[in-house]
Symmetry: C3
């Protein structure tokens, strides 16, 4: 079954074909391509959403499918997740029944379920999303889980391919931590890191001490970089990291400390309020594109002047969510199998060709 | 006007035609049959829903209709219900206007409004649902009212006809009360009881003392049973009731005591925590199918081993909600009048033929 | 860009064409006219809605468009509105990004954002709706803002044209304030006043001392009336105002006092609990049609006998919301440009012809 649990588990050829398909939808613009009539999709949002919900509903509608959005707890009851649970508390239904039933009705499910922020093993092992996948008998699209956000990653990769006119490889991509009043999950930084490394970009993760990403994710990113003769770098000097950057990808996240001692993390974070993307920092870059997955806090994560300036491509990035998700639905429903093969051969040859000189090879 | 207030008020021939239509949709599977383009349906959920909402939205969509789901109080104001009410409290709109307006917009309404659990006469007389029917100028489908759940009943009847390959008549159907932390409404047990009796099954209601169903509903069930030469039996011995059962239909409900003395009922219910469907109980049956309308509390109402075992048909039962509701929409919109006549003659002849020997006749 | 910020900013010819189009949809009844396939519409409701949401969803669906309803704060985060805001509070996203992103996805936006009730300058200047319009790159339809409700105004004008068979001009239209337990916004009375004056009706605003509408709005209404040789009258004598009325349009609103001293306004309002539309008051009229935008509080704003009697046309009025909004979507999407020109010439000639004798000219 064509689940989309995470994008990095897809083969290079499928991965490349997804980018090609997203670009195809981008070029088609507002043209609807009803390739999936008589199909239906249910979206389960255990956490809030604006972009993902609307772009996924539209992605389905533009393909001719029927889409229902479900917000558990709003008009439905809450769900129990654990195996063997004696359900004598507030939850009236087990996720196994809920997903089992929805699998009988719909042709695919999209599910958003964020990190707990308290149980590192559960979040790293994607326990909740895996419970959904186990219970489902139709394809499941991950709409952001504890550690991964594949729809964002595909949208971002396609945005970069568009922005650099196909030549993202070798460009300097800085994933910069920023201050935020809340300790946010790591799904987006994880996904952005893996995506940029796999594209063959020169990746630097700029973040304060104590805010390093998960070692397993970093290893996977290094593996991707190595295929291009590159190394993912880490820096605690935000300003220096911006030097000569081609892309600034800003994102706030809580470090591993939030799992061990949330109060200590909250206190520590206050020391880094100046990790904010300013015009001064942007001036150090190679006229870098500014990216953010949104929602973004103006004046806290990034200054208005940057977000309202010509280098910001966050709206294009958001737009690509729609195109990317149409590609993902085509994938899970096998709508363009032959095109996928054809395109992926060509594109993956170019995406994964031996690194150029400027790649550091 | 083709309201679907409750299923038991339909003539035998219409009732039989509904089952036939649900089975037709089941056999068609994922094939969409857009028989109702340019029609629209509004669903009003005064109480939570997962299956009913999604299956009804899909039922409409698969027939080509536009469906809107409204959850009063979420994005709308609350409604007043009483005639002659001076509305100087928190409710901003009377149900008469709300339903009157929606009748101008939509071609049918679906409404869920649960039992009060406090006013027995109001619940038994279906005061709230009748207020909706009075105000509506388009057909209304009951999506579960105080005493009835016709969509569930039709789905269940069709599930049984499928499970027994058309030969449900004479099979032993046990509606068993179970413990539940809450005193639940009686719409589902009422509807299951009436449905099984009308199908000519040998019905036993197993429940503790004090949890008998409404006398009027029991009388109606006895009337159906008598047409097949049968009698609905009641038992306070759950284990004995399971002997030789062909179907175990589990459901928790609060007894009449919740209307008179809710605290006494809550205390009393604790004495029956062992009314739970276990593998041991199921072993006494004739390899009975296990049914539940869902949501179900694992480990409280039924053990995991039963629900995850081969005898459980609760997911098929849930699936049949979709097929049944397509049949119901076809009925309220008169989409297949000739087919209805044709099928119902044949089917009702077989459904309501004189009882066979094993029926106890 | 064809925003529909408010109806009174449209030229006479466009305004007249809108009425003609709404009447065309009314005559077409349940016939769907899918003139906008492959278009999509997002509805943002910052405040509750029943009629507007359902009629706008249907308006889109009946034109063949895909419609998504978003209720910020329910399944999404809250938004920041101010320019230059440092977003270190509870709001996670600025309206500029939210609307910028939705503009990338959808072909039009509908937005409801009520009056603050506390900041008169902000409400009068429509600061929030203007922030939306500034951020949008697709047409925006005002679904009720601080001061205006153009969808209601167009629906009401079309209702009147239907009720009077095209001859609304010169008829006596009484906009009567009523008591209500809450101090409601002025968008509907403002819009009703401007609409009736522009149609050339003889308008009287009946309201207690201290409940006069905004001077700028009154001036605009006088300007419209003057074009027909008329004057908008104001009266603090509700009963006298009803004499010989052809239309009673009831609406509660908070006066300017709510902005200066809400407690004083709440106390003052209690003195006018008898400003309620009764059968006795209606008997003074020229068999007037009773109108209300809904939701309406029975027994508080209007008596049951009036609302359930033959003079009430509030359900027709609600129905016209659907027809009006189809006209509005056709306008913002330029679906019938030629028809608009053709019809508007004819209709505006008749709507804006020199006033007849009974107009007071």
């Amino acid at each position: 079954m064509n689940h989309l649990f995470d994008w990095h588990v897809l083969d290079d050829s499928v991965w490349a074909a997804h980018i090609a398909a997203a670009l195809r939808h981008y070029r088609a613009g507002k043209t609807w391509t009803p390739a999936a009539p008589s199909r239906s999709l249910a979206l389960l949002f255990f956490n809030p959403s604006l972009r993902t919900r609307t772009s996924m509903e539209l992605a389905g509608a533009q393909l001719g499918a029927h889409v229902t959005t479900i917000t558990p707890g709003q008009g439905t009851w809450g769900f129990a997740w654990e195996d063997g649970k004696v359900m004598d508390g507030t939850e009236a239904e087990h996720i196994r029944e809920a997903v089992g039933v929805l699998s009988r009705y719909y042709d695919a499910l999209g599910v958003r379920v964020f990190a707990s922020g308290t149980d590192y093993a559960q979040d790293r092992d994607e326990t909740l999303m895996r419970a959904i996948l186990d219970a489902a008998t139709v394809p499941v699209v991950n709409l952001e889980s504890a550690f991964y956000h594949p729809c964002q990653a595909l949208g971002d990769a396609s945005t970069l391919m568009t922005h650099f006119d196909g030549a993202a490889k070798g460009k300097k991509f800085v994933l910069t931590w920023t201050y935020h009043p809340k300790a946010l999950p790591m799904a987006v930084p994880n996904s952005a890191l893996l995506m940029a490394a796999r594209l063959g970009m020169q990746v630097t993760v700029a973040r304060p001490d104590g805010y390093g990403l998960d070692p397993g994710v970093m290893d996977q990113a290094q593996h991707y970089a190595a295929r291009h003769g590159l190394t993912v770098e880490e820096s605690t000097d935000q300003a220096a990291a911006f030097d000569d950057a081609d892309v600034i990808y800003a994102k706030a996240w809580g470090g591993p400390l939030i799992y061990q001692d949330p109060d200590a993390e909250a206190a520590r974070r206050q020391d880094f309020k100046d990790w904010r993307v300013t015009s001064e920092l942007m001036a150090r870059t190679n006229e870098a594109a500014f990216m953010h997955c949104l929602p973004v806090r103006r004046g806290v994560v990034v200054d208005d002047a940057v977000l309202d300036g010509p280098q910001a491509i966050h709206l294009l990035q958001a737009e690509f969510r729609l195109h990317a998700q149409k590609a993902i639905l085509e994938h899970v429903w096998d709508l363009n199998p032959r095109e996928e093969e054809r395109v992926s051969g060509r594109l993956s040859a170019s995406l994964f060709a031996p690194a150029h000189a400027e790649d550091g090879a």
